[in-house]
């Protein structure tokens, strides 16, 4: 593979090697063991992301988005989950093979995740300040910081997420905060840790729509103002359109399409993507939106070939038997569908 990254004095992982990918997931398989067998949730996920990019990941509930993200940081509950194959490269190093110390470095300085449910993600018996302080204190450079510096580093992210009265916030408990404020605190904690890649898992979904909008605007602003790379997971197309450069579409444990955002909206290729676009109700043009017929497959007994095939209006013979790989349609557009097998450029 690529040459091992060199260590600099501060202990940071250095710039990634030639191909420059920040995050690269290759053929990831994840299984869950339950009553009656195994749920083969992730069935060969491929994903690439470069520094500075803002990438969206779209898919319906249950398609494996969160599982993929938790695998990156290796915070899956292992039993019952099991990473059954594949690699996850962060700046050229395989996360799945890392030892604790290096992994901690990645978590503390490289990648941060903002969880879907901010109430569950905050420890109920510690104050916001105590939790933030722990993040800062135990980061790799934390031991070199004075108390004053630590305190400043806990206040700074609180200011960045536009929380009122950050000083008092340090002494409040999560239960005393509203849902929107908790979400902001979670974002602040992510910012306090890592600044290279931010993974936001359906931010604001558990909140009121107006609050969700505020949160998304906040994220948008943060992303614009800094050069942090963002991976935005969502099931809402509109969010993705506004905030991302590139979008992956995921279905039933596999990526089915990836394209630059505008290109995806202008030219959705995969039948599933098509279905998603069609499913969004329009204000003009009349008519109620159609859903996509059928349900996500049973992960215990998934279809043998393409996993979307049972619901696909354009399924062909080969779709029953084989799994499609990514076919490159364009520089910025790939799709995993046999319909386009011959259209590769």
């Amino acid at each position: 593979m690529s040459s091992p990254p060199s260590r600099q004095d501060s202990g940071h992982l250095s710039r990634p090697p030639q191909n420059g990918a920040l995050l690269k997931i290759r053929d990831l398989h994840v299984h869950f063991k339950v009553y009656g067998g195994r749920l083969r949730v992730l069935d060969g996920v491929h994903f690439t992301m470069h520094p500075g990019e803002k990438v969206g990941l779209v898919g319906e509930t249950g398609c494996g988005k969160t599982t993929t993200m938790k695998s990156i940081l290796r915070i899956l509950p292992e039993p019952p989950a099991r990473i059954a194959g594949g690699e996850i490269y962060f700046k050229g190093r395989d996360v799945l093979k890392m030892k604790q110390k290096e992994l901690r470095k990645v978590r503390s300085e490289g990648i941060s995740m903002i969880f879907q449910d901010p109430t569950a993600a905050l420890n109920p018996v510690f104050t916001v300040g105590q939790q933030l302080e722990a993040v800062v204190k135990y980061s790799i450079e934390g031991k070199n910081l004075s108390r004053k510096e630590i305190r400043e580093r806990t206040l700074q992210p609180l200011r960045e997420v536009a929380l009122p009265d950050p000083e008092r916030m340090l002494d409040t408990y999560p239960l005393q905060l509203s849902g929107g404020m908790r979400q902001r605190v979670c974002i602040a904690m992510a910012l306090a840790a890592s600044r290279e890649l931010l993974i936001a898992d359906e931010p604001g979904t558990s909140l009121d729509v107006t609050i969700q909008d505020q949160i998304l605007r906040l994220l948008h602003r943060l992303v614009e103002e800094t050069d942090v790379s963002v991976l935005l997971i969502t099931h809402t197309l509109g969010v993705v359109r506004e905030m991302t450069d590139r979008v992956y579409v995921m279905y039933a444990g596999r990526m089915v399409e990836v394209a630059d955002t505008q290109e995806l909206f202008d030219n959705p290729l995969h039948p599933y993507t098509h279905g998603l676009m069609e499913a969004v109700p329009r204000l003009t043009g009349g008519g109620v939106a159609d859903g996509i017929a059928g349900r996500i497959p049973d992960y215990m007994h998934p279809p043998q070939g393409c996993r979307f095939q049972p619901r696909c209006p354009r399924a062909m013979e080969v779709c029953h038997q084989e799994k499609p790989t990514f076919y490159r349609i364009d520089d910025n557009h790939q799709v995993a569908c046999f319909l386009y097998r011959d259209s590769e450029t």
Binding site: F32, V34, Y35, L39, G62, P80
Partner: protein, 297 residues
């Protein structure tokens, strides 16, 4: 306390599947199976004691000084006590008292306890709630054994009164448990919708709220068998439960304490028998709790 719900992803299926899944969850833990076996064994021995015990007549008034104080051996597998009675047979009959204790007490305690809890939970925030829960607090303010002893002491000591005493002080646990569940459930939507369509309070309490409380209640009941039996044997030990010469397990243990350590088998084997019964019900109760637990993926 959360309301348990099966995972939405796995299809509910037929009753057969539900039982199958229940059994799967129960049997995951070998200890639960062990518990089930213990309980079945004890029940069998209790029910068929007159047929299975080697010396069934030793369970009552029986004296044979010629064969007294014999250590465990071939003729008397667990030895005899100072009156010459076979300990093994008496233990089999002793199981009867233990099981009776558990079954009778729980039958007496669960219906009123649960009902009061439901009422208190439904009328949460009103004087009814306060009144019921305050009374419950009073009963729970004293260590269980003490209260049982105190109640027992005003009655003639025998098994029946022991059961009565334990029942009188056991019901508040169920009230408290169900109160916690019901007062949370009370605010759920399905209750308000029932109220809106004019369902009677009786219906709401017993047909809507109660079914959601069943699993914790059942779990508690299975575990409680163990505790009630334990409490019963403690009372017998002190002299307030099963009276000699009847072979209550606690009574037998007490009868042997004066002869420690030389005639150790007189106390030790009944004590072990108590452990087996209580252990069995405890393991069984854990298994039942696993059976009712929600599956998470």
């Amino acid at each position: 306390m959360t309301v348990h719900a099966e995972s939405l992803d796995l299809p509910k299926g037929t009753t057969r599947e539900k039982l199958g899944r229940g059994w799967y969850k129960f049997s995951r833990n070998t200890m639960s199976i062990v518990g089930l076996c213990f309980v079945l064994l004890v029940t069998f021995l209790a029910v068929f004691a007159p047929l299975v015990a080697p010396y069934p007549e030793h369970a009552g008034k029986f004296v044979d000084f010629a064969n007294a104080s014999i250590p465990p051996g071939r003729t008397y597998p667990l030895g005899t006590d100072v009156m010459g009675r076979d300990i093994l047979s008496r233990i089999f009959f002793g199981f009867r008292f233990s099981l009776m204790m558990g079954v009778v007490v729980l039958s007496l305690v669960v219906p009123p306890g649960v009902t009061l809890g439901l009422i208190a939970g439904y009328y949460q925030g009103t004087w009814i709630d306060t009144a019921i829960m305050r009374i419950t607090d009073i009963f729970l303010a004293v260590p269980p054994l003490i209260l049982a002893l105190a109640i027992c002491s005003v009655l003639t000591p025998n098994l029946f009164n022991a059961m009565l005493a334990v029942s009188l002080m056991w019901w508040p646990w169920y009230t408290r448990l169900v109160y916690g569940l019901a007062s949370t459930l009370r605010n759920e939507f399905f209750v308000s919708s029932a109220e809106v369509i004019g369902a009677s309070k009786f219906h709401i309490i017993f047909k809507e709220i109660l079914p959601n409380c069943i699993s914790p209640i059942f779990t508690k009941m299975s575990l409680d068998m163990a505790w009630v039996i334990l409490l019963g044997s403690s009372l017998s030990f002190v002299g307030l439960g099963v009276q000699p010469p009847r072979p209550g397990l606690g009574t037998m243990v007490a009868g042997g304490t004066d002869y420690l350590p030389e005639l150790w088998w007189i106390s030790v084997f009944p004590a072990l028998a108590i452990v087996v019964v209580v252990l069995g019900f405890n393991l069984l109760g854990d298994g039942i709790r696993d059976m009712f637990a929600a599956e998470e993926v």
